[in-house]
Amino acid sequence: MTVTDWVFLAVAAVTLFSAYRVVVSRKIMHAALWLGLTFFGVAGIFLLLGADFLAAAQVLVYVGAVTTIIIFGIMLSTPEELRGPSSDAGSDADSPAAPTRRSFLPLLTAIGFAAVMVALVNRGEWPSPPGSVATDTPRLLGEALFTRFVIPFEVASVVLLVALVGAIALALKEESGQ
């Protein structure tokens, strides 16, 4: 075990623990903050895998933007909206720890999937880690994006534009309807 291995295991443990906390936190704001820590952990994993540009993009896009708009979404909702209809308000519907009628099959599905994947991964023959790794990933990414993947790249920009317009339109329709 080299130092890199230990660092990876530590980062992976932090990531998995915070992902677990996202699922089980009783307060939704705590879950959102744990989600931010998970994104940071994934950025660390990217860094350890040699994807430095993606690690920076992960911090900018996920930690900087996605977590922020999720927190905005939480703060723009009233407590009643977050907690659900008042019919079962007494049973603390916001709490995921409260057993729902659907809690068994999802558990089976998730554990089954993870177990099957881990078993497959352990049995597989995987390529050994390459000795040298490309250090100029931004150049490689840019070349790939603007030559071989130029059409998906343009489509992705259209997707972003449509999402931008769509999000604004959804919010504006509500405003003008009142």
Binding site: T2, T4, F8, A12, L16, A19, V22, V23, I28, L35, F39, V42, I45, F46, L48, L49, A51, F53, L54, V61, Y62, A65, V66, I69, I70, F72, G73, S77, L82, G84, P96, T100, R102, L105, P106, A110, F113, A114, M117, V118, G124, W126, P127, S128, P129, V133, A134, T137, L140, L141, A144, F149, A156, V159, A163, G166, L170, A171, K173, E174
Partner: protein, 103 residues
């Protein structure tokens, strides 16, 4: 660097399982969205790991990760806009009780 690919893939699979479990059990729409982000991130780990171990001089897997990030950002923005609109109209965002496409 001796880190084996299977360890990275196992971490990714566990995170995917957590995200799937959360997305299936949560009743709050914002929480479901957060769990879907977990799933997308675990897939990104997979893509980057294979890019690192299989074709380290091309970074093709990282290109796909860029696209996944793009779509995830768009999904989060539009999803939250929809959730906010539903919350204003129905006064809750319990996905068990949102069963209309139009009202």
């Amino acid at each position: 660097m001796t880190l084996s690919l299977s360890v990275v893939l196992a971490v990714s699979a566990l995170m995917f399982g957590l995200g799937v479990y959360g997305a299936l059990t949560q009743r709050n729409a914002i929480r479901v969205l957060m769990c879907i982000e977990l799933v997308l991130n675990s897939v990104n780990i997979n893509l980057v790991a294979f890019s690192r171990y299989v074709g380290p001089d091309q970074a093709l897997g990282q290109v796909f990760t860029v696209f996944v990030m793009t779509v995830a950002a768009a999904e989060a923005a539009v999803g939250l806009a929809i959730i906010l609109m539903v919350a204003r109209r129905k006064a809750h965002i319990d996905i068990d009780q949102i069963n209309l496409l139009k009202w």
